[in-house]
């Protein structure tokens, strides 16, 4: 399969990318690792007429501590996030989840900014970023602005970015040695999750919980978070995981089964985060 024709523009800075987006308008798309965009272009689900390749923009490749946050450049590849010592020490949920994306070849190309911009409801890293309460920094013709990730994923493949903007950075709190868990249910190890749950103890004392593939976007499990804040047990809180969700039915799972998975995986993730149990592995996962 070969994508439709497009023009290709290579940029080496964010400023050049913003200028190119302004020049080429709404038919232009940003190309980073290309591992979400090129597959849908091959299927003609996306038909941009201009691709602006930002993979040479070195200023987007970093993982660093910035005050009480960790700042991650949007061009950081999953492989680099997985291996980042800063990320492993300061926000270990993220490198773990990066290691669960796709397979090694995919992780060598895919980028954090790309997976957030793509806005797939079954995406691993956006689920972790949502549990962490990340901030998305975007650049556009009017400079930079910050968007809370809770306001970023608007709908199926639809984000709060406006025309002419691109993601330049993700900011997350430094959780350090606080507990976290990520439980993902797949048919094969390198698949997209049928359902996944992320749980992480945050510096403000709350527990962030988010779900993949339980609706049109990745979702915060608000009922679970509220129950935990009220002092309910993990079992009681996790029983509420499917509340407010709208999962789809497909060949892998129907609504009832996905709801069951959401409750079960949330409970497991919370127990791992609380240090009560070990994380599931590909071999031990069963639902």
């Amino acid at each position: 399969m070969i994508p439709s024709q497009f023009d290709y523009v290579r940029v080496s800075t964010v400023d050049e990318a913003v200028a190119a987006l302004a020049e080429h308008g709404e038919d232009a798309k940003i190309l980073a690792g290309g591992h979400s965009l090129l597959p849908i272009m091959k299927l003609r689900l996306a038909v941009p007429t201009v691709l602006i390749d930002i993979s040479g923009a070195q200023e987007l490749n970093y993982v660093r501590v910035d005050g009480d946050q960790v700042a991650i450049g949007a061009g950081t590849r999953h492989h680099d996030l997985e291996k980042s010592e800063v990320a492993q020490a300061e926000v270990p949920l993220l490198p773990h989840v990066a290691s669960r994306v796709g397979d090694p070849q995919v992780r060598h190309r895919g980028t954090l900014g790309g997976t957030v911009a793509h806005c797939d409801p079954a995406s691993d890293l956006p689920t972790a970023l949502l549990a962490l309460g990340a901030t998305v920094v975007v650049a556009g013709p009017n400079g930079r602005r910050e968007i809370p990730i809770t306001a970023f994923f608007l709908g199926f493949f639809e984000t709060a970015m406006e025309e002419g903007e691109l993601i330049v950075e993700l900011r997350v709190p430094r959780t350090g040695s606080a507990g976290w868990g990520y439980e993902k249910f797949t048919r094969r190890e390198n698949d997209w999750p049928i359902v996944a749950a992320a749980a992480v103890h945050l510096p403000d004392g709350s527990v962030g919980v988010a779900l993949a593939n339980m609706g049109g976007v990745v979702l915060r499990a608000e009922a679970v978070e509220a129950a935990l804040a009220e002092g309910k047990s993990i079992e009681e809180a996790a029983a509420l995981a499917a509340e407010g969700t709208s999962p789809s039915s497909d060949m892998h799972a129907d609504v009832e089964y996905r709801s069951h998975l959401a409750r079960l995986l949330t409970q497991r993730a919370l127990k791992v985060a609380a240090g009560e149990t070990e994380a599931s592995t590909a071999e031990s996962t069963a639902a």
């Binding site: 190309l31 492989h79 070849q105 060598h108 094969r188």
Partner: protein, 167 residues
């Protein structure tokens, strides 16, 4: 558009359409047909090549994205008629059945051994999660990678420029 890259140690400059995939560029423009296209959807790994020391699926990379890169395909592994340790191990352990996935398996295995020179059976299987064998001949493939590990660091390197390969 013009694209330049070093392929198996040789500098190549060619004219390509922006939409040309690296897999097609290698096969159709450069005649390097060891790189197979299986699923064409980033799943099967048959098109795995090494770009700047990292394994990638060349069906999901534009040729233009390899501008200025060092690319190694299966054809670039042997030196002076000597097989690469991973190739030799696939031969001695019969790590193939129909052979279609083999070039991608060999390239991905070099990446596995670069990251982990002494992997366990389990770690080899995890490292090759992005490569499918439709004959389901995984047992001998895993044995071949474990055998190749006995050759030491050379099993995790490619010869064209002796570039370091990461996982």
């Amino acid at each position: 558009m013009q694209v330049s890259m070093t392929v198996n140690g040789q500098q190549r400059t060619d004219e390509v359409e922006p939409r040309m995939l690296l897999a097609h560029h290698l096969r159709d423009n450069l005649g390097l047909t060891a790189t197979n296209i299986g699923c064409d959807s980033t799943s099967c790994g048959a098109c795995t090549v090494i770009v700047d020391g990292l394994t990638v699926k060349s069906c999901t990379v534009l040729a233009l994205q390899a501008e200025g890169s060092e690319v190694t395909t299966l054809e670039g592994l042997s030196t002076d008629g000597e097989m690469h340790p991973v190739q030799a191990a696939f031969r001695s352990e019969h790590g193939l059945q129909c052979g279609f996935c083999t070039s991608g398996m060999v390239m991905a295995s070099i990446g596995v051994l670069a990251d982990n020179p002494n992997p366990t059976d389990r770690e080899v299987r995890e490292g090759l999660e992005g490569n499918l064998c439709r004959c389901t001949g995984y047992h001998n493939i895993v044995q071949a990678v474990l055998k190749a590990a006995e050759a030491g660091p050379a099993a995790g390197q490619v010869p064209s420029s002796q570039q370091e390969v990461s996982a």
